[in-house]
């Protein structure tokens, strides 16, 4: 077998590099799956309960919220618990993308500096690790739904394209944050403080319809993209069509994130090893 000739040449900006990097990285499934499973195992290595901690920490949170905040909402207690259970699972996934995204290249510095791999394998690794944790949490949420006698309707299938769209966004969001915070580490600190606030400004623990009166809370929620991501995913599972407005916003957002991602990666790809 004859190898192809490869050329490395200086280019200040090349969106093409970003695309080939993504395609090459996506093809190497066994590698990023291995990386992801290693990282998950590492996080729980030497703990007695191991991966079951994912289940426990999720249940502890949902249980506590349902107990303490159940009366804040007009929904009956059962409905509120399910609302929080579904929302929290997907919200943690969204949040993980924001925080992991900032560190995605920093934590992979050892590999970036030692092997000529596509940068995108670190993105896929990071996203797939979050998907794994989300899958566990979401499975519990579904179990809770059945436990409380809630029936999934056909509308719930809408959540599948919604999740696909969220997944697409995750990759590019992590890409943008990863490159930018490799250059400006401050972004990571900024993101840490933002995610704390996002917990309260996103309707995870409160129901948006109950606060639809124009006001600060509503405006903030409206401008918060996570609100719309939650809406298109959670609503169908809880038996309602996702708000078309949120779909439109999410679709535009995906396009924007894609364009910005390719632009950022095109400009930063060559310099990444110099920054780490």
């Amino acid at each position: 077998m004859r190898n192809a000739v490869k050329v490395q040449q200086t280019a200040r900006f090349s969106p093409w590099i970003a695309i080939t990097d993504l395609v090459d990285g996506a093809a190497r499934v066994p590698l990023w799956v291995a990386f992801a499973s290693d990282e998950i195992q590492q996080r729980y290595r030497r703990s007695k309960l191991g991966l079951t901690w994912i289940v426990f920490s999720y249940l502890i949170f949902v249980g506590t919220i349902s107990l303490f905040f159940g009366s804040f909402s007009d929904l009956n207690h059962q409905k509120f618990t399910l609302y929080v259970a579904v929302n929290f699972a997907i919200f943690m996934f969204l949040l993980a993308n924001l925080t992991d995204g900032c560190a995605v290249f920093r934590t992979a510095a050892s590999w970036i500096k030692s092997a000529p791999l596509p940068h995108s394998i670190h993105l896929f690794k990071s996203v797939s690790r979050s998907v794994f944790i989300f899958a566990i949490n979401f499975a519990i949420a579904i179990a809770l739904l059945f436990l409380y006698g809630h029936k999934l309707t056909w509308v719930a299938l809408e959540a599948i394209p919604a999740f696909a769209l969220i997944l697409f966004n995750s990759i590019f969001i992590q890409m943008i944050l990863g490159y930018i915070s490799a250059r400006y580490p401050d972004i990571e600190h900024l993101m840490m403080s933002i995610t704390r606030v996002l917990f309260f400004t996103t309707p995870v623990l409160w129901v948006r319809d109950e606060h639809s009166a124009p006001g600060l809370r509503n405006t903030v929620a409206e401008f918060n993209p996570l609100t719309h991501a939650l809406e298109i995913f959670s609503s169908p599972i809880l038996g309602q069509h996702g708000d078309p407005r949120s779909w439109v916003i999410m679709l535009w957002l995906s396009l924007a994130v894609f364009v910005i991602g390719i632009f950022v990666a095109g400009a930063c790809h060559r310099r990444l090893p110099y920054w780490l």
Binding site: R2, N3, A4, V5, K6, V7, Q8, Q9, T10, R12, R28, P30, L31, A34, F35, D38, Q42, R45, S110, W111, I112, K113, S114, A115, P116, L117, R270, R271, P273, Y274
Partner: protein, 282 residues
């Protein structure tokens, strides 16, 4: 970034013949400049040093680590890189290994490149030796099946035995080196880029490594080795380049270059060892 490449590179011109080779590596006027961030002004840094790039406000912007490096290597070539600390050896290896993208010039190659530049990088310290064999194999683009086929050979060469099931962070530097070297060479790389860490091995390992490298170069590969060990270089290489201040000072057969290099760097008590920018990564 400082892309100072005044020369236009022709589409290969005289190197057309090289391109037909099974394995080749062609570097044309490579340059690397490391950006320097922060507010470094002329604090005792010599302004006359042309490797430091200042902006018009007198702030340090970049360090030119390599300048105008041209090489052409074909199947079977074994190149040594010698030079003092901070002369750009490791940077050049990183560029040739495809890890750093040059800030100027062009690198063209055919063949699978394996680089062993820093043995502490590219391993998962908490994972076992076996797991690291898998990861590095996957990272080099091999299937799990191919990795399993090579596992026995790697275990044997590294002489680690039972230790392969232990986390790599419990390994000594020598054990770590044996394993990484065994992994890197097990998959018959076509272009092998090695930094001087190999010289840290004991005599028995060095001998074994030398045999292994010769075997591999015999199988139509290219070896690029940077080292301070005279013996290692003489055993493994036939050509050499001498890097000085980021530029090629001399090139030619390995004995001649070594001789010139050694006579130049013979200890003279007057010259201070520290480079002006030894604190900046070069």
């Amino acid at each position: 970034m400082n892309d100072q490449s005044p020369l236009q590179i022709e589409p290969f011109g005289e190197h057309r013949q090289l391109l037909s080779q099974e394995t080749f590596l062609l570097a044309e006027s490579l340059g690397v400049s490391f950006p320097v961030r922060g507010n470094i002004r002329e604090q005792r840094l010599s302004e006359s040093d042309d490797r430091l790039i200042w902006n018009k406000h007198g702030k340090l912007r970049a360090v030119q680590a390599l300048r105008n490096i041209s090489l052409d290597l074909k199947t079977g070539d074994r190149l040594a890189i010698v030079g003092r600390n901070g002369s750009g050896k490791t940077t050049l290896l990183q560029v040739l290994g495809g890890i750093l993208s040059p800030s100027a010039g062009r690198l063209t190659y055919r063949g699978r490149v394996t680089s062993l530049i820093n043995i502490n990088l590219g391993i998962q310290p908490e994972a076992s030796g076996h797991r690291n064999i898998t990861l590095r194999g996957l990272a080099s683009g091999y299937s799990r099946k191919e990795i399993e086929q090579k596992r026995g050979e790697i275990a044997e060469f590294s002489e680690l035995g039972e230790f392969l099931s232990m986390p790599m962070m419990s390994y000594s530097a020598g054990m770590r080196m044996r394993l990484t070297f065994a992994i890197a060479t097990a998959f018959t790389p076509e272009i092998l880029v090695l930094d001087e860490w190999l010289s840290a091995g004991d005599t028995a390992f060095k001998k074994k490594a030398t045999n292994r490298m010769q075997e591999f170069v015999g199988k139509a590969g290219i070896l690029i080795l940077a080292s301070h060990s005279r013996q290692l270089i003489l055993d493994n290489c036939e050509q050499a380049i001498w890097l000085d201040g980021g530029e090629i000072r001399e090139r030619g057969p390995v004995e001649e270059v070594l001789k010139a290099y050694e006579s130049d760097s013979a200890p003279s008590p007057k010259t201070p060892e520290a480079h002006p920018f030894s604190t900046v990564k070069a």
